[in-house]
Symmetry: C2
Subunit: 252 residues, 2 copies
């Protein structure tokens, strides 16, 4: 079912040495939990940019945690319209829906070279019955995903184009920043204006014009892959409230 250049990978990062564990925003595993997660992670998967690895309507045998890279979750309409639901960054879980319910209701595509931890769904129940703290963490992750979707819904439903653009950019900057991907207020954004447009429910042309308008305020700079936050206050003023980053959040 995997198109593009996706392939299992011989060398797996052992969980003890997981680079994510060093992030201050993520909670620590107990030794017991670490032991289980290590066994739970059966493989690593690499996906090339532009390739989807989970499909709407299919039932996946695995769920995944993003180890490195960016991806996005999306849905398509019959006539080709696309809605991007959210972006996935390291420490995010993808495919939980397919693991818990009958089938996936959205697809997931890599934006950059992507490394995923592969977790077999048939052992999810083992996790629930033996590691309630981890089960709780998974629920926490699902609730956080829901929260981001809700914010997104407010943006698309009730905010103007300028407000929407300000909101996503600030949102994504914050998320990337929290993961240590920012240096001097600059992060690398791997997506195009078309991706932004599809996330925001706008046309490409109007997204472009709105971005220009936003850059004219000197709140941000964005050329090539470099995104620079010049004036957080101004951006915040346009975007409205952006949820504070969660401290000590779980991940699996």
């Amino acid at each position: 079912m995997i198109l593009g250049n996706a392939k299992p990978n011989g060398e797996i990062t052992p969980c003890e040495q997981c680079p994510l564990r060093r992030l201050p925003c993520l909670r620590e595993f107990t030794l017991n939990e670490l032991e289980f997660v290590k066994r739970f992670k059966v493989d690593e998967l690499r996906v090339e940019p532009g390739a989807s690895f989970l499909y709407e309507g299919s039932r996946s045998e695995h769920l995944y945690t993003v180890l490195r890279g960016w991806a996005f979750r999306y849905k398509m309409l019959d006539d080709g319209r696309r809605q991007i639901l959210n972006f996935a960054l390291p420490a995010d879980m993808v495919g939980l829906q397919g693991a818990v319910m009958e089938e996936m209701e959205h697809s997931v595509e890599a934006l950059t070279p992507l490394t995923l931890c592969v977790l077999p769904r048939h052992r999810l129940y083992e996790l629930y019955s033996q590691y309630p703290t981890l089960a709780f963490d998974i629920t926490w992750l699902a609730a956080r995903e829901e929260q981001m979707l809700e914010e997104h819904l407010v943006s698309i439903g009730r905010r103007s184009a300028l407000e929407r653009v300000a909101y996503v950019l600030l949102h994504l900057y914050n998320r990337a920043s929290e993961l240590g991907m920012a240096r001097n207020n600059v992060v690398q954004f791997p997506f195009t204006q078309q991706h932004l447009a599809d996330a925001l429910g706008l046309s490409l042309v109007h997204t472009n014009k709105t971005l220009k308008r936003l850059m004219a305020t000197k709140a941000i700079r964005w050329q090539g892959r470099d995104f620079e936050l010049l004036d957080k206050g101004v951006l915040h003023g346009l975007a409205g409230t952006v949820p504070a980053p969660q401290k000590n959040r779980p991940f699996i």
Copy 2:
């Protein structure tokens, strides 16, 4: 924190006699589970139409299951713009976010006289550690909520006003119908056109005109509280794919 006419209720429906358990679309509890849920439900709460019982920014001591009535989850912007995120019907859980995370990111308001089962959040961990099947059910419920939000996001982001209206109405008709609230293709909708507008990200005026246009196709009839589905095929054609109702779904 509860405004309006909300009050605890002396007489509680015992879980053995819960009317929801008779619904064919919901899964059966084992005796063990039933025993626990019975203890988990510490009270019943009644809320009057128009009253909110969960607030954005607050941290609730309880989570709730809807026993009778309709509610809706929503978020407000500073200047009064409102976005309705989803509607809650019997067997739906509300307030999970507040129970799992730091605080609620949305509010919940009753549309009709509402009866809620009160579940204390501080015993949620007991559930996770002793009843993994129920913990799994909660995750399932969170995943389903996420799925509905995603569909909603596609509507608002990529569908025209006519398509959006067709979609929600079909969606809500299906959900109500599944719960046995339909008779001869008629259900009672307790919300106004203003609610619909706020759910769909449209203005009231345009929602009204779009509804008129939809009724002109003879796909639906909606006057007073009565909503009648006249031609499911036509509505489906406008709405695009609407997810099939889930069989044997969990609830708590």
